[in-house]
């Protein structure tokens, strides 16, 4: 655990500007793959001493503030998934505003790097799906580059059908898995 430090006025201002009131240590990005609730442990309960948890505070770095902005649910930057039709790697028009928001962010913050992971549903050849996932990641990368983003900021990779968000064998699950996911520096 990191040592708590005194909050400075500058840090406070920054936190407010970033729309973030958290002063505890930053948690790593929640994994996107596992949507299942954790199973609570029931057996073998034993008593334990009750202690008052210490409230830690620390100064938020400018980078952390930007990352917080990327996770703000009110910002289009928190929208990180582009879904695709079956067997397609064409980006639908409805994603234009989300992609444009990410392009603006990358242009304004040239030190930030983005990883785009392309994915497919489980039907068909694993190797073909790996290639199809690459096309889906590449499609998002091209769209960002068309808006002026420097190619060096973006890496596109494919996970093929190997990392589904949903494991059901139905159209709803398949649709959820046909996607490109956007991750920023510090999130991968």
């Amino acid at each position: 655990m990191r040592t708590p430090t005194k909050i400075t006025l500058a840090a406070l201002t920054l936190a407010v500007l970033a729309g973030c009131s958290s002063t505890g240590p930053e948690q790593p990005a929640a994994p996107t793959e596992d949507k299942k609730p954790a199973t609570p442990s029931t057996g073998g309960a034993t008593g334990a001493p009750v202690t008052q948890p210490q409230v830690g505070t620390k100064q938020m770095t400018p980078e952390e503030a930007l990352l917080a902005q990327l996770k703000d649910p009110n910002s289009p930057l928190s929208k990180r998934i582009v879904y695709f039709d079956y067997d397609s790697y064409a980006i639908k028009d409805s994603y234009a505003s989300i992609i444009s928001a990410h392009a603006k962010f990358l242009i304004a913050n040239p030190k930030f790097r983005m990883l785009i992971q392309g994915n497919t549903d489980e039907r068909g050849s694993r190797e073909y799906n790996l290639a199809l996932g690459q096309k889906r990641a590449e499609a998002v990368k091209r769209a960002l580059m068309l808006l002026g983003v420097n190619e060096a900021q973006i890496e596109s990779v494919s996970l093929g059908e190997e990392k589904p968000r949903m494991t059901g064998a139905d159209e709803a699950s398949y649709a959820e898995n046909r996607r490109s996911e956007i991750l920023y520096s510090g999130e991968y």
């Binding site: 073909y128 290639a131 690459q134």
Partner: protein, 424 residues
């Protein structure tokens, strides 16, 4: 023309009983002209921990090429005086007799004799010497001997099969004997492993592992367990396929954007781009003579199979029926092509005779993929799905014989690759 074969559902159910059985093999359907063969209980079999005769019979029966004639309960020595007419009357075209004798060094000797009753050839004799630990292997060699004598083709009972199992988020690259027994684990990972491919000499496997959080191509020595990186370029590295000389691999890289086909030396040197397109090009596979590379591409608007000279050139389209034809796999004689086709929303294994371009759908389930030919070209193993679980199945190249290989409860098995004849 697409032809379906209606299969009889004679389930023979050869359920393996060994304690460490990984896969059990079940046959549905049978060849049209099965050779009736009697295999008398081997004399002296009681010396062994397990009946050798059973291994031989199960192998031959599983091939779908033989029908077992009941030989009765007697153990018949290899040199017994026999009345062939009596066996002929029982319907046997062939009779195998054997004796097991202890030899110095804790080993055993099987002396066997094979009578070809139908063709009235002189009997063939063979002697196998083995240690108790290699008893099953010896049974497979005996079955290979009988198979070759009676069909004129090499048997595949002593070959191996590589595949990937997934149990509770853990991936294992496994190698089993062709009957699903004697499983060994070559690699364990919490990240996916796909596309295992045997080196032509059977000593190494190339595969794609996500263990470093992205697809990288490795070559793995089965004897030492040593894993070496073949290709780790920017982007994805996948779909390794050995050249027949075992020195080069065809691979797929995305270092310049979309998936493109290259060849590379096994040590990672000598990268050479084979085809160039802005489309998806993937799943390269050398023809057995090394002249061509077959591959999947969506350059024409839908995924189809193409081929190109192994040194590069203008690709030529091979499949035309349907809107999804992927995963080209050449038969060992180079005359036919197995692949995955989408047929009314179902994914099935198809085979094309390359001379006539005639296509036959070989399987009738809906999630079949990853076909791999046995080295004698008679059977094709593939990945399928039953009740949402990944299973391995096999179908004869003519579509008549089917086998289901079931894994242990709870796990998925996929990505089968049938190993070559040559064993190190």
């Amino acid at each position: 023309m697409i032809k379906f074969f209606r299969l009889m559902t004679a389930v023979l159910g050869l359920v393996a009983t060994a304690a460490h059985a990984q896969l059990t093999v079940e046959i549905t359907g049978a060849g049209a002209n099965r050779i009736p063969v009697a295999i008398a209980n081997f004399a002296g079999e009681g010396l062994l921990p397990q009946a050798l005769t059973g291994v031989v019979r199960a192998d031959l029966e599983r091939s779908g090429a033989f029908k077992m004639i009941d030989p009765g309960p007697a153990q018949v020595p290899e040199n017994a005086a026999i009345d062939l007419n009596q066996w002929k009357d029982r319907g046997a075209d062939a009779l195998a007799l054997a004796s097991i004798l202890p030899v110095p060094g804790g080993r055993y000797e099987v002396r066997m004799r094979l009578y070809d009753i139908a063709r009235q050839n002189k009997p063939d004799g063979m002697i196998f010497v083995f240690a108790p630990a290699t008893m099953r292997e010896t049974g497979h060699r005996i079955a290979d001997f009988i198979y070759e004598k009676m069909t004129g083709e090499k048997g595949v009972f002593s070959t191996r099969i590589a595949y990937v199992s997934k149990t509770a988020g853990r991936f294992e690259l496994k190698v089993d004997d062709a009957d699903g027994q004697n499983p060994r684990t070559a690699l364990r990972s919490t990240e996916p492993i796909i596309s295992p491919a045997w080196s032509p000499d059977g000593s190494r496997l190339a595969y794609v592992s996500f263990q470093a959080k992205k697809p990288i191509i490795y070559v793995h020595s089965l004897a030492t367990g040593a894993q070496t990186v073949v290709a780790n370029f920017k982007g994805s590295n996948s779909a390794p396929a050995w050249a027949p000389d075992g020195k080069r691999l065809a691979i797929v890289l995305t270092k310049d954007g979309s998936s493109q086909i290259y060849t590379i030396n096994v040590d990672g040197s000598g990268l050479n781009r084979i085809v160039s397109s802005s489309a998806i090009d993937t799943e390269p596979q050398f023809s057995p003579d090394g002249q061509f590379i077959y591959f999947t591409s969506d350059r024409g608007g839908s995924p189809q199979i193409y081929r190109v000279a192994a040194g590069g050139g203008n690709p030529e389209r091979v499949t035309f029926e349907g809107s999804y034809n992927v995963t080209p796999r050449l038969s060992p004689d180079g005359k036919s092509l197995a692949y995955v086709t989408r047929n009314g929303g179902r994914f099935q294994i198809a085979s094309m005779d390359l001379a006539s371009r005639q296509v036959q759908i070989l399987t009738d389930s809906s999630r079949d993929e990853s076909p791999s030919f046995a080295p004698n070209g008679r059977m094709i193993i593939y990945a399928s799905e039953i009740g949402g679980r990944g299973v391995l199945s096999a179908v004869s190249a003519d579509g008549r014989v089917r086998q289901k290989l079931s894994g242990q409860a709870g796990g998925d098995v996929r990505e089968p690759a049938w190993g070559p004849f040559n064993q190190p």
